[in-house]
Every structure is written in C-alpha cells, then in structure tokens.
Symmetry: C2
Subunit: 187 residues, 2 copies
C-alpha cells in the first residue's frame, strides 16, 4: 500500500451535507486512504473524523482547504474522479492501479456531491463510474478503494488506538490495545 | 445472480436520516439487490428510490414495513447483519456466498443505523464487519454487495429505463434506450 492516496471532497453545504461529508472521510480512513481533503466550510465533519482517528487509530490526516480546483489541477501524480458518467471501474481499475499504488505514484481521488464543475472532468486522468447509475458517492468511494487496493486495505493495522473492536460471531467486544496484546499475543 | 437479495434498513429518523436511507436504497439497487425494505416512516426515501428506478430502470422493488424485527426473525433463508462488531467480511464471504446467491437461498442483508437491538445480532446467521472500524453503513453495504456478487452486479442490464448513461472518458453522455440500440447495435 502506498503512503499517498488522498481523497478530495468537492462541495459541501453545512448542515445539509454534514453526514455525507463525514461518511466520505470515515470511509476514506477505514478503507485505506491516507488523507482526506475537505472544503473549508466542513469543519464539523473534520472534527468528527479526527475524533474517530484519535479513538480508533491512524495514521490518517484531515485537511480543510478552499482551493479544491487548483489543488486538483496541480496534483503531482494521478487524478481519479468518481462520477456516474465515467468509464466503468471494472474496465479501468487495472490501468489506474498501475498508474498509482502499484507504481508509488500519488493518487488523488475526487469525490463530488452534486454539480461538479467541468474542470474536474478535464483535470482527471480517469473519470470512473462505479456503475453508471445514480446511487451514493460514499458507496462509489468504498467500492473504488476496495478494488484499488484489491482488499489489502482490510488487513491494515492501526496505530495509537485507545480501543480495538474484536470481530465476533454475535455481540460486541471492544478491548484496549494493551489487553489485546495479552489475549492475542500468541497469534 | 439470484432473484432474491433483499436489503433491510433498520431505523429511520425522518428529516435527519432521509439522505442516508435514500443512499442505502439506491446503493442496494445499483449494486445488485432485488428489493429494499425500509421503515414505514421513510416514505420520502422510498419515493426517491422509486423515481430513480422509473427513470434508470429495474427491476427493483421498494417496500415500507413496520415489522423489521419479526420480518428478520421469520426470514426464510440466510440473514447477514452488517456491523462493525461482526466477523471480518474477507473471512466469511465465501461461506456466506455458498449459503445464499450460490445456492439460490434468499438472503436478507440487515443494515442498521445507530443502536441496533440485540435481536438482530441473534437472528443473523452472519454478523459481518466490513472492517471493524466506524465508517458508513452505505460504504459497508456497497463493499459487501460487490464482494457477494464478485463484481458480476456491475454487468447488470436494466429494463424499462427511459435514459441510459454511456461511459465516457471525459464529460457526460445520456441517451434514450432507442438511440442506444441504433448507435451500439453492432457491438
């Protein structure tokens, strides 16, 4: 896994979009990205994502910026823009992987809300559709990252967590990392 | 692909949860489920999902019910409950596929919001975590369905659509299905 997969969220209406933007950030974190760049009016979402990172571990960075277009245009690496109008993910994922994580080339993944300016389509090396159907930018991002990393992101270990969820057939088990080492140290 | 993968959404607060519940339904539709069951106070989300199905095609059914617990308990088939406390998706997906789509056994996929009652953990044949990290029920559902169907859901063809999005390297192209036959009939 590379150190440099960054998810950029374009567009945010405070209040109305708080949960979607938070979910974009938490999905980026959980599924292997290194950083999320949010619009600077999404401070509430940034706070929630940082709080989760403090509790459940990192490294994962959250950045607020007001120059999403320039940032994308000037990205030194590969740009993938997720859009239902783009090429089919199953058709481009191998090339996209070769141009990014497989060659240590930094990847910027642009996730729009509604009404993404044409600039982003033009700045993108790949416009990618996770289906050409309208659904959810969060769902699209999730499938995209799982395919980009070929599932390896699910094996990630987290640093600096103050709690760890242990997978259970039924019920909930949350331990602190110290207990985990004592319990599962022999694995 | 089986005819019988149903996504059940537990819990909905009108207003606050409208977009998340809509996205659960649209993700279920786009990624290969046959039907979504929503709480009966989620009429607004149901309407949006039906409207998308009318325009972009089906078949896909939306049902409103008020008996989510009994419906899950009495499901005649396999029940998978998505939860960050569950077993790792990468560990259980092969068994789960064998017990559902691969053996024509109907599958109910339970997607909670916050505070899912313990009944659902007990009624589930599989409690499944798409990571054991907090992120998004929409993201979890998306990765789950893509893995369940092993990507075949992306090849689905839609019936009764009044518009079709054609994948593009750059830009947007939407045609009506009649035009599509004339343009791409030779493929």
């Amino acid at each position: 896994m590379t150190d440099d997969v960054v998810v950029l969220r374009y567009g945010h209406r405070p209040g109305r979009d708080d949960r979607m933007t938070t979910h974009v950030g938490l999905t980026a974190r959980a599924l292997g990205a290194d950083r999320v760049v949010l619009p600077d009016n999404a401070g509430q979402s940034a706070e929630t994502i940082r709080d989760i990172t403090d509790r459940f571990g990192g490294p994962f960075a959250v950045e607020l910026r007001d120059d999403q277009r320039a940032y994308t245009r000037n990205w030194d690496g590969t740009v993938a823009h997720l859009t239902m109008y783009g090429e089919r993910v199953q058709d481009v994922e191998a090339d996209l992987r070769a141009d990014s994580v497989a060659s240590d080339t930094p990847l910027l993944v642009v996730v729009g809300g509604e009404k993404v300016p044409f600039d982003f389509y033009e700045a993108a090396d790949y416009n990618v559709g996770v289906t050409n159907q309208p659904h959810s930018e969060v769902a699209g991002l999730a499938v995209f990252l799982d395919r980009l990393f070929e599932g390896e992101e699910l094996e990630r270990e987290w640093e600096g967590a103050d709690r760890v969820v242990l997978p259970q057939e039924t019920g909930k088990k949350v331990v602190d990392p110290g207990d985990l080492e004592r319990e599962d140290g022999g694995e």
